[in-house]
Every structure is written in C-alpha cells, then in structure tokens.
Symmetry: D2
C-alpha cells in the first residue's frame, strides 16, 4: 500500500535523472515513455508475481498516446499510477496518470495510454494472451482505480 491506497504494483516512482532534463529545463517529452515502460514492468512483475521473461512470451507496443499538462522538473516528486483499461484476445490497453506532489496534493501532469499486442517472438506472430498473463489481469481487474 501507499499514499494512493493502491496495490504497490500500480504506483511507480520514477527516478528523475539529471540527464532526463533537456535543453528546455524539463524532462524531455520522449523520456515519459521510458518512465511508462518502467511502470508497465513494475505493474506486470507485481501482477504475475515474478521477474517476467520478456524474451519469451512477449508483448509489443502498438500504439501510444499522451496528453501533457504540465512539465516534470528535476526535483519533482513524481508517481505514475498504471492500470489496464481493456483486455482483448490478443491486445490490451494500459493507461497512466503522471502525478506530482504539490503542497500535499497529487496534481495530474500527464495522462497516457499504450496499446500492447501479445507476441510470440519465435513465430513472429501475434497470439492470444498466455494464461499466466490473462488470468492475473482478470483477477486484478481493469479500469481506472479510485485514488
């Protein structure tokens, strides 16, 4: 648990590296997607209950969308809340809110979504989600959590 009253796997605290800040003095817009990548790994590892072998039964990113509201600064205290919005037979959509601690409240800096496709790296084709992935997600539930 955490200050969001959410399972630990849903709340990721990115380390804002000095190098993440670009010439505009803010976290570069591309770097958010690396934070989301870490959020997803953190989420799925918590969900599936072990270090996930990404080389085996994998997922590929098919789509991203993001709306930026306010920038992330170097010393910001950031959390990313992640959830699964929708699960299809061969794809699913993850969603994220990027939140910043401002005077004891969490302010939304950005909202984003990622569509992932289940992928067998041996056959090179999209496949139905393996049970070890789909069952924990079904049990966990989908949709934006209250926080």
């Amino acid at each position: 648990m955490n200050s969001f009253n959410l399972p630990a796997c849903q709340v990721y605290q990115p380390e804002i590296r000095f190098v993440d800040i670009d010439a505009a003095g803010i976290v570069n817009n591309a770097t958010y997607f690396n934070y989301f990548e870490q959020s997803r790994i953190h989420f799925f590892e918590g969900l599936v209950g072990r270090k996930w072998n990404w080389h085996e039964a994998g997922m590929v990113v098919a789509r991203h969308e993001i709306d930026y509201r306010m920038p992330i600064l170097f010393n910001d205290d950031i959390r990313i809340v992640t959830w699964i919005e929708r699960v299809g037979e061969k794809s699913m959509t993850a969603a994220y809110e990027v939140l910043k601690a401002v005077e004891g409240k969490w302010v939304n800096l950005a909202t984003a979504k990622t569509v992932m496709v289940s992928f067998n790296h041996v056959s090179g084709k999209s496949i139905a989600w393996p049970l070890q992935m789909s069952e924990p997600i079904a049990q966990f539930g989908t949709g934006r959590p209250s926080f």
Copy 2:
C-alpha cells in the same frame, strides 16, 4: 529535393545509434519521439530559414500519438516525412510517417502526430503564433503531401 520529390525540410534521415537499440533488438519505442523532435527542428529550420531560437518564442508539446507497424532495426535506412496537418491560432498539429527502404520501395513503419502549443517562455503563457512562424507555414501549406 530527394527521392520523395519533397522539399528537403520535409524529409529527415535519422541516424540510428547503436544505443537506440534496446534489449528487444529494436529501436526503443520512446526513441521515436526523439527522432520526431529532430524532424520538427529540421522542418522548422528549413521553413523559417534560419537556426530557430527555441528559447525565445517557443512551442511546447501538448500531445503525441503514434501507431507502430513494424520495428526499426539498427542497419535500417529510414526517412521521416513531416508535415503540418492543421494550424490553429495558438496550436498546430505536426504529422509524420516513418519509412524504411525495402527493395527499392519505402515501407511505412509508423505514423504519428504531435500537437504543439505556441508558448511565451517569459510570460509562461500560450500565445498566438508569431508571424515569423505562421506566415512561412501558411505559404508552405498544410496537409499530407503526395509521395
């Protein structure tokens, strides 16, 4: 001009760095947004006709969306075609196609859009596009070029 029969500013050839390749053996999905950033700079420098002072009258990225079709590999010969899809009073939308040379043809690997907002870094507020930006764009024209 180039093999696309487009103005030089619309065709950007990213250098695929070894470090751009991630553990999955492909260009990391976040890195595309750095390529698009370079594409936009290349486009606007060509359009405005000089090195643009990004610190002065700036633009901030308000939204990205991208659809990935096929991955970029290390030795791929890539071009990114950029155009302006829409210009509003204080915002505009850039669009991109990521293309790969395959047996003499350009194959679409990804399509993306970026919404940018005109921003005065001194006042910290969105403003109408300065003429030195809006006029060259109006003259250049908007919409996906034929290629």
Copy 3:
C-alpha cells in the same frame, strides 16, 4: 546506514531501466556515466544537506576514466559507492565502485573516477571551491572508505 556500513550519501542504488540495456543485452557503457552523475548528486546532496543549486556555483566535469570488469544486466541488484579521492583548490576527484549482489556478496563490476572543476557560471571561469562545498567535504574526509 546500509549493508556497506557507510553514510547513506555514499551508497547509490541506480534504477536499471529497460532502455539502459543496449543491443548487446547489457547496460550500455555510456550509461554508467549517467549513473555516476546521479551518484555524485546523491553524494553532494547528502553532504551539503540540501538540494544543491547546480545552476549557481557549479562544477564541470573535466575528466572521466573507467575500467569495466563485468557487465550490468537488467535485473542486477547494483550499488555504486562514491567517495572523494582528492580535493584541490579549484578541482576535485570523485571515485566510484560499481558493485553487484552475487550470492550475498558484493562483486566489483567497474571502477571509475571523475575530475570536476569548480566553475562560476556567471563569469565563465574556474574558481576556488565555495566554502559551502569545501567545508563539508573536509569534515567528511577523503579517500576510499572501508567496506
């Protein structure tokens, strides 16, 4: 304190991001210097006792050297121990050991040094270390700690 029995500021745990892994399946050799950058920030913030204003009285990196012994993998449990090896009037040398937890022992993966020069960003010249920097370092002490 920590398992090294060292002050917290001397022990930094980098987050190994998926994107840090390159096409060779290991943390890219350049990324170590971003980890060291974070180590230094962590060290100096602990030493000086507050968020350091890097824009004000700054330091610039004048030299790096690093010896790589074994690679860092994605799921490795890494610590970086940092110390100040030498302080001159206008420069100092930081040193680092990169350590990996292997069966309950910390194994050395890499050793590195950074020479930093005290720099006034207003005058654009190197200057003597400000007291708020040199005094805490003198009090903390220099040289490789026992661990």
Copy 4:
C-alpha cells in the same frame, strides 16, 4: 576524403540531438561515449568493408578515458577523428579527438581513448583478434594521423 584529408572512416560527424543537451545547456558528458560508439562503428565498417556483425566475433569495451576541454553546444558543427593507437593480441586502443568548427578552424573540445577486448560471445571468453579484423587494421596502420 574530407576537409581533414583523412579516409572517410576516420571522420565521423555526430548529429547533435536536442535531447543530447542536458539541464546545463550542453551535450551531457555521458553522451560523448555514444558519439564515440558511433565513431568506432563508422571506422570499423569503413575498414572491414561491410556492415560488421557485432553479435558474432565481438569486442567489449574494457576502459574509457576522456578529457573535456570545452562543451559541445546544440548548433555546433562537430567532427570526431578516430584512430587505432595500439593493437595487442587480444585488445586494442582506439583514440578520438572531438573537434568543432570555429571561424574556419577545427578546435579541439575533447580527447578520449577506449580499450577494447576481442570477445567470443559463444564461449564468453576473450580471444585473439580474428584475421578479418586484425589484417585491415595492420594494413590501415596505427597512431594519430596528421590533420
């Protein structure tokens, strides 16, 4: 040939990406090593005469050292001159100068060296340089070229 009167493989022009610039307004000190990585690839591809298969008979970076003299800015016109300083049975040392065009002259911004070890990724051991690597280097010659 080029303005340095050197073989093309020895002169690499890095693209300075916007994201390469860090919060200090200069190319981050770690990013130089990505530029050097590209320089080495450019050099060895020119030397060996084909796209090198880095997964096959590889080389691993064993040591880096770099002296920074002046920073790289976003719009700088940069070249990196690379040469092989020394070849041993199982290792070799590459050296680089980072040069910036200033009023028609090339000014040295940084000097660096990389020790690489010949490595068989199947056996996981260092091996003698394969002939397809050592012969072109012997023919090309070692040592800093005049420029």
